[in-house]
């Protein structure tokens, strides 16, 4: 079988799964595809995905368990396609090769084309980031006196950076003098300019 997709990701049941998919009619298949894409675009919403499949199964008098298992393996196809940056045409070809009928394959690939930009953006968002900066808080003020010097007039800036470390976050606190602040701002503006070269 010639596929654009990586064969190893496909379950053994893939031919049976696609024959089963072919059985859905013109109202049922689009609705299933819609549920599938909703989940692909919001991969954290597993509860909702399973809930929607259970409801669908109920409406059409089929086993919820069987439907869920079918969809879980069908899901591997668009997930693999996304990783390989497949085009709509390539995914259509693969679906036909795997046994999905022409009409359904065309419909699926059309939906794929429409959602591709959003799907890529979602995949980019899931890309590993190390010590990701998630929030920044700040305050600035004036030091008016200390235990050593009664009258002072120094501007200070305090920053709190919230950094994601694994599943929890860590707060990093720091203080900057005015010159340090201006240098900080200047360096980050340079970093931004550098990033803009790539967009």
């Amino acid at each position: 079988m010639q596929l654009h997709l990586v064969k190893e990701i496909l379950p053994d049941s893939v031919s049976t799964d696609f024959q089963n998919l072919n059985r859905f009619n013109e109202q049922q298949f689009p609705r299933l595809v819609e549920i599938l894409f909703q989940f692909l675009l919001e991969p954290k919403e597993t509860e909702r995905f399973l809930q929607q499949l259970t409801e669908f199964a109920g409406e059409h008098g089929m086993s919820a368990g069987l439907l869920r298992n079918l969809m879980k393996s069908v899901l591997l196809v668009p997930q693999g396609a996304l990783k390989k940056n497949l085009t709509a045409e390539q995914i259509r070809e693969d679906l036909v090769t795997l046994g999905l009928n022409e009409d359904k394959a065309a419909f699926f690939s059309q939906q794929w084309g429409e959602h591709y930009a959003a799907l890529s953006k979602c995949a980019i968002g899931q890309t590993l980031m190390v010590n990701q900066l998630v929030d920044m808080e700040w305050k600035f003020g004036v030091t008016v006196g200390t235990s050593e010097v009664q009258k002072v007039g120094h501007i200070f800036l305090q920053l709190k950076l919230v950094v994601r470390k694994g599943t929890s976050t860590e707060n990093v606190y720091m203080e900057l003098t005015l010159p340090q602040f201006y240098n900080f701002l200047h360096e980050l503006e340079r970093a931004k300019t550098s990033m803009e070269c790539f967009s």
Binding site: I124, Q132, E148, L176, A191
Partner: protein, 196 residues
Amino acid sequence: MAAGVSEEDFSNLQLLLKAPSKDAVRDVCVQSHKDGSNHRLIENTAATFSISAAEATRLIQSLHVLSHHVLYQNLTSPEQILAVFPESFHSSLKNLITKILLKNGPTWRTEALSNQISLPQLKDLDWRVDLVSGSDSLSRMAVPTCLVQLKLEDPCPPAGEDTVSTVTVELSRESLDTMLDGLGRIRDQLSVVAGK
């Protein structure tokens, strides 16, 4: 800590008259400012001035009180410092001490302000921009990402920890833009404050 300079302090200061030279007076003034109960300083002073250890202790503590008082009150002119001494104080000694305090004042003030309590201070900033060309979620991509390394120095680290720590943070383009927005607002607010 700043406290008033007492009569007893001034009487202890008269022990400086036993100093072998003006340099010795200057040395003991400068060193007592850092630490008013340093044992080695007390021993050396007792030996140099030919006074007892007890007398050296009192002298150094009183010098410490005086120099910190001058620092706290920010006394920067000769008249202001001379006014601290009682009328009866030895005149040339008073002038010598005043001269020493005036000379070291600015250094002590800078030191005090740089050693004051604060959050860890940003000492250095390095950054790099990478182009992410692939990941487990997308085998081909071209997404820029920014890594920023901050070197922080904690002036009062918890026991057993280093003063210098390094934090490396990764920012997406959106995060960097948002951060720069925030920093821009800080800069605008700072200009308003500075303008007042």
